[in-house]
Symmetry: C2
Subunit: 247 residues, 2 copies
């Protein structure tokens, strides 16, 4: 999976031209000149489901933009119990700045494409461009919000509510058009039942039973185990446990 023809003269690197993350991801923080220098160090990768992104011996993956696919971040206890502590979608930035040891593992949940860069290049660029650091900061704040939302789900919701909340979250992240609360939404689950259970702190059997129940109740339809259609998102929302009431 090599790409990197080094392009020194053109205003904007060819690869970046058509890049999904050119404007929306962290690269949007860079001006053309910075982008050119930065792009010299980047490489594209494709990773199949189950492939490790970090935790293995490949330091080039240290930092990446996620261009497509879903990445799961996991933590594991020594007896094998596992918890998914985050899911990342494009155009998220992958990697933990300012720390060599990541205490989490990152793994491709679906087939994934990355634009990767060496740690040093990112950290140099971050010193140079406060705007880049600013974007990373904002993403981190969003991840923290997501993490805390998931904590409520893990600590205080019932199994039916957990599964409904998961579907709602996935539906919102994988939507490919307008999302009206009343228009049908459909998507492919990026995770297996076992992975969903690691996300929600349940067992795969319980996840399966709850999905069956939602299907029986007419809240969702499922084809081929993975493809889900939600006719009414608001009906699904009702099953997520009462919304948080600020104040």
């Amino acid at each position: 999976m090599t790409v990197g023809q080094n392009i020194h003269s053109s205003p904007i690197p060819v690869l970046c031209h058509s890049c999904e993350a050119r404007h929306s991801g962290v690269c949007g923080a860079l001006d053309p000149d910075q982008l050119v220098r930065f792009a010299e160090t980047t490489t594209r990768h494709k990773i199949e489901p189950g492939g490790a992104l970090i935790g293995d011996a490949e330091p080039v993956y240290s930092y990446s933009n996620l261009l497509s696919g879903v990445v799961k971040l996991t933590k594991t206890l020594s007896d094998g119990r596992q918890q998914i502590v985050g899911l990342q979608f494009s155009p998220d930035f992958l990697g933990r700045p300012f720390k060599l040891e990541s205490a989490i593992n990152a793994e491709a949940a679906t087939s994934v494409t990355l634009c990767s860069f060496p740690r040093a290049a990112v950290e140099r660029m971050m010193k140079e461009s406060p705007e880049l650091e600013h974007r990373l900061f904002k993403q981190t704040l969003n991840e923290l919000d997501d993490a805390r939302e998931l904590m409520v789900t893990l600590g205080r919701k019932t199994a039916p509510e957990k599964v409904a909340s998961f579907l709602l979250m996935i539906g919102r992240n994988m939507h490919s058009g307008v999302d009206s609360a009343e228009r049908p939404t459909c998507f492919d689950l990026p995770l297996t039942r076992a992975e969903i259970s690691d996300f929600l702190g349940l067992t795969n059997e319980t996840v399966s039973r709850q999905l069956t129940r939602l299907r029986a109740d007419g809240v969702i339809r499922i084809e081929n185990k993975r493809h889900v259609t939600v006719d009414s998102m608001s009906r699904l929302e009702q099953r997520c446990g009462g919304r948080v009431a600020p104040l």
Copy 2:
């Protein structure tokens, strides 16, 4: 503890001189001149346990340095179920930058002292000093690490493991001297049993039972319901569920 000795042309504000957060907190990012301007807008507050920090109608609390005490961050479902999604200790910075609506409530768990500043002052200072934003970024990354650690606890640990993990975390955050794994550590619990249960996703009865069990097993001693002594931290650690295995 001399206050008047090293007076520069831009004297450091008197209040900041003896401030616990002068160097360790976010204020450490500011040079004396910046600090002087910044300090003009700050006010100190003392808040008793149970007092709300945000979520109420007092915008002056929007951002603060936590100088002493413990603050709990909570989320609540509409039927009253509550989850503590974070605990903050001095010299943490309180507040969610770049967002007017915080989806979480912050409340004093113990008696708390704050150094507060208006939102606008912080955001102005942040534009001016990338170092300030950098420190906030780093704290946020640490909070994210903590949040993900807690997710494992919430999703995958048993009640005994949860309570042991909580004690370990508190012990490490409230330690007031050297912490050897084998030397006795003691501290006051900053939370009631009910609050601990909201932190761990349990009921107060279960928390109480597990504390009783740890006491009966000689892992901890408890005086006055709140004061805990851990003779051997490593023994407590053994009850936290296997440590995460990176890779």
